[in-house]
Every structure is written in C-alpha cells, then in structure tokens.
Amino acid sequence: MKRLPFRGDVLSRIAMFVLGIMVLASLLPLVVTSLDPTETVGPRLSSPSGEWWFGTDNLGRSILARVLEGIRTTLLISLAAVIVSTILAIIIAIVATLSRGVVDQLVVRAADIFFAFPAVLLAILVSTIVGSGSQAAILAIIFITLPLMVRAIRAASLGVADRDFITSSWVGGASTVRLAVVHILPNIAGVVVVQATYAASIAMLTEGALSFLGFGVQAPTASLGSLVQEGNLYLTIAPWFTLIPGAVLALAILSVNLLGDGLRDRLDPRAARSLT
C-alpha cells in the first residue's frame, strides 16, 4: 500500500479525509433518488429528525439533499474558476518573467489595479454585467484570484529564472517555450499547487458571499452560499436551515486551508500565505 501523504501532519490528513467525504457525499444525490434536492418531501421548515437529518426547508425539501447538492455546486464552481485562474496565472507569470521590462511592469500594474478593487465590490460588478448565475460566480472568482496568483507565481518564477542554470540555457540558445516548460515550470510547481489551494478557499468564500447577496447561483440550484441566504429569512424559526449549510461551508473552507498549509510546509516552506 502506498504511504499516506502528509506523514506526521495529522491536521492535513484529517482535512484531506473530510474533503474526500464531502466530495463522495456530494455525488450521492446523483445515484440515490431519494436525495432529490428539488423534491418536496415533507412539511416545510421541519426540524432535523430521523426522517430528515438536516430538517426541511421553506418548500419542504430535504436540507440534507440540498446541502449535498450545494457542496457539489460550490466545489465545481470553485474548481472550474481555480483551474482557469491557475492556467492563466502560469502563462502570464512566465511570459512576464521571460520578457521582463515593459511587459513585466504592465503585468504587475494590471495586477495592482485589480487588487485595488475590494473583492466583493468587484464580484458584484462582474455579476451585474454578465447576469447572476454560476458563470458570474466563476468569472468573479477568476478576477479576484488571478492577481493574487500572478503575483505569487511571478515572484517564484523570477527567482527560478535568476538562477544560473536558466541563464546558461538561455545563453545556450534554448527556445523560450522550452525554457518555460522544461526549466521554469517544474521549479515553480510547488508554489503553483500551494497558491491554487489557497485560491480554492478564496473561491469558496467568494462564491458564498456572492450567492449570499443574491448575485450568485440562482434557485432552485443550491450552493452552500445560496442555502445560507435562503435560510436567513427563517433564521429565528428554523435556524438549522442557515446554520447547517453555513457550518458545512466553513468546514470545507477550513479543510482546504489546512490542506494548503500542509502542502506549503511540504512544497514551498518559505512562502507565506497570500491574502485576499
């Protein structure tokens, strides 16, 4: 049997385990028909019980089924956004590193400009323009995480590029693409993985905030953020409706953050966490 990752790092292991359970559970509604997130199964706003573990919502739907769908939506949106953001960030950072000069300065300035937008304001503007929904959430997350990732990856690839062996390959006439793929990419992989993990936690926060304000995914699709928002109306009479999805979201973000720390300790020990 292959050795478990994160030896000696109990928290990261637990985090990985929790995330694994969440991913598997979120797939359940796809195979278990009784977990239909859109079906009315009982009286509205019933408290958690043996029949409905997480209670029912304002339309009498099972909150368990809604939460599982919510995990899937939130994770998918975050994953899609982070993948796009990571790829873009790698390309931009490496181009900036290799071309230096004006291009590099432009990249830095552009990152500054996007960074100057408060994240939630930026997300709302994006959502207003493209219309509320998952695409808006994905796009907003990309806009928010891209400058953070470009900065971190650029700094790392600059460090790599300054090392002797790159300079000598360059002098030796290696093509730019080859230089990027063979020399720089492997050397910044650790930073990329760590930053992408942190970006995922920012993504989940952003999706949640957008949906909570009503600019994110739209009913009847559930995301963890939209469930918190839906339940908020019934906070005092059906607290479970808001607090359960809220706790699940916090747990998911916590796990991703712990995983990010664990990865950082393994892959990129000197880096500090970049911030929203």
Binding site: V10, L11, V108, R109, A111, D112, I113, F115, A116, F117, P118, A119, V120, L121, I124, L125, T128, I129, R151, A155, S201, L205, G208, A209, F212, L213, G225, V228, Q229, N232, L235, T236, P239, T242, L243, G246, A247, L249, A250, I253, L254, N257, L258, D261, A272, R273, L275, T276
Partner: protein
C-alpha cells in the same frame, strides 16, 4: 533610489491605478442592461419620458464622452448627483462614511488587540507539535468562517435571546454612545475575526523570522536578559510586516463591510453601493468604488512609506519586495 523619488513613483502608480479602476467601472456599469431611466421611471413611463430623463442626465451621450465629463467634474471635487435621491453624491457618501469608518476601525482595533498578543505568544511559545497544531487550527478556523455565516449565527443568537448587544438597530455614535456600542460590537466582531487570524499569523511568522537573525544570536551571546531581547529586539523588529498587513486588511474589511452592513442593517457605504448597483445609480456606484479603491491605494502607499521609514533597506530594494 531616494525616499522622495520612491514616494513620487508610488504616487504616480496610484493615480494610474485609480484612473483605470474608474474607467473599468464606468464602462462596466453603463453596459448593464436596464438603464437608470427604466429603474426610476418604472415600467409605465412613455418612451418620450424615458428619452427626456436620459437626456437630462446625459445618458444619451457616448460612454467615453460621459466618462470625460464625469472625470473632469470629479477633478473639480464634484462627484455628481445621486439619480435616485436627487442629492449630491458627496453628501450622501459623507452621511454614510462615519458608520463604515467606525465599523472598519473597530474591526481593525479588534484584529490588532487580539491578533498581536496571540501572535507574539505563538511566536515565542515552545515549538511542540501540539501547540503548533492547535494554533494552526485556531488560526485557520477563524480565517475559514465566512463573515456571512458568522454574522448570521450571531444575528440568530442575539435575536432569540435578549442579551445586551443589539442586532439590527443601528444607532449613530453622535446620537447615543452606549447605544452605538451596543449596535456595533457584533458587526465589528464579525468583520474583524478574520483579521485576528491574519495578524496572528503575520506576527508569529515575523517573530520566528527575527529569532533566527544574527543580531538576536549576538544579543543572546552578549548575555542580555531574554525579556530585554524580546522587548527591545524581537517585538520591535517583528512589527514591521504588520504595517503592510494592516493596509491589506483595510481593503479586506471594506470588502467585507458590504456583507456585514447588510446583515446588521448598518447604513454605511457597503449597503449604499449594493442598493445603487440595483438602482443603476451610476454616479453613486462610480463614487463608491472610487472611494474604496482610493482608501485601499492610499493605505498601501502609507504602508510603503512607513515601511521605507522603519526599514532603511527598502529605499533600494523595494522592487524586490514584490508589490506588497
């Protein structure tokens, strides 16, 4: 590069940043479907009335022309007129700034008062696996609870129980100080908890970094008392990175204030922005974004300048620091 030159370059960069931000927002908000005239006149107005209103506010002109007009007015200190309230945007902003400012400052104070001691303790504490794991868990947890989840939980707890603190009854600081405190503690806590974790981490890492420096080793070798070393060398030197992080936190808090203000019904800039986006009140959206971006950019500039003053090496190596 001299300090003065450094500051001039930063200032120019800041101005360019703000210009581009304003351009992006301007283009964005004017391309959203459903114009101001639709929102304010409602569904039943005649096309003529719509056209008339659009003309009155110059909305019929090309967007670049509108932008230039807006910009030249802004340069002269005129942020325009809120189309919904028909009053000047500056006065509407001025009315809401105190609430947001108080919220952000309280959150910042809370972050520092709780985060710095915790960070120092964590940085100086024995490096056992258990203590590392607990502080990491606590730090990550406070960083991972979304503000709207934390806020909703507090609204729930404090609305079903008659505890002293209030949710949803904002009282201005000038009206009634005690009432103000009762209404602001929970929002500030909600907004600031994330900052506690951030400050704590920064302070801890900074202390760890300082502890490995040669001047500490030298002081230890000299036989200075540990308390003196910690007070004179460790804490002072480790506080430099806090300056930068506070600037970043201010940006994060402005962002978070949108959510916290709506949750706790605080009439500040965040809610104003939200409603103005919904009402297509262009002048307000532009002004609110510009204001937030300015505060953020200025905070960063001040941090840079302070950093340069506190740490003489910066003048020459600022570029190597990256932009943060």
């Amino acid at each position: 590069m001299s300090l003065a030159r450094f500051l001039v370059v930063r200032l120019a960069g800041a101005i360019v940043t703000l210009l581009v931000v304003s351009m992006v927002v301007f283009a964005a908000i004017h391309n959203v479907p459903g114009g101001y005239e639709d929102v304010v006149l409602g569904p039943l107005a005649t096309p003529e009335l719509r056209a008339q209103t659009a003309e009155k506010y110059g909305l019929d002109q090309p967007i670049p022309v509108q932008y230039v007009k807006w910009l030249s007015a802004v340069v002269h200190g005129d942020l325009g007129t809120s189309m919904t309230s028909k009053t000047s945007v500056s006065s509407e902003l001025a009315r809401r700034i105190p609430a947001t400012l108080e919220l952000v400052l309280l959150a910042l104070a809370f972050s520092l008062l709780a985060g710095v001691p915790l960070g120092i303790a964590a940085g100086l504490s024995s490096d056992s696996r258990f203590s590392r794991a607990t502080s990491r868990l606590a730090g990550s947890l406070t960083m991972s609870i979304p503000d709207f989840v934390l806020g909703a939980t507090l609204v729930y707890l404090f609305s079903v129980n008659s505890w002293w603190l209030r949710v949803g009854s904002y009282v201005g600081i000038t009206e009634d100080l005690v009432g103000n405190i009762r209404s602001m503690v929970l929002p500030a806590f909600t907004l600031g908890l994330f900052g506690v974790a951030v400050i704590m981490r920064t302070q801890r890492d900074a202390i760890r970094g300082v502890l490995t420096q040669t001047f500490i080793t030298a002081a230890v070798a000299r036989g200075d008392a540990p308390r003196t070393i910690i007070r004179r060398n460790v804490i002072r030197n480790s506080s430099i990175p806090l300056v930068t992080i506070v600037a970043v936190l201010i940006g994060a808090f402005i962002s978070g204030s949108v959510i916290v203000e709506s949750l706790f019904s605080i009439p500040g800039i965040g809610v104003f922005f939200l409603n103005s986006v919904r009402n297509r009140d262009y002048a307000v959206v532009q002004a609110a974004v510009l204001l937030s971006a300015t505060v953020f950019v200025v905070a960063n500039m001040v941090a840079d300048a302070l950093y340069a003053v506190l740490d003489p090496r910066v003048g020459s190596t600022s570029a190597a620091r990256g932009q943060k």
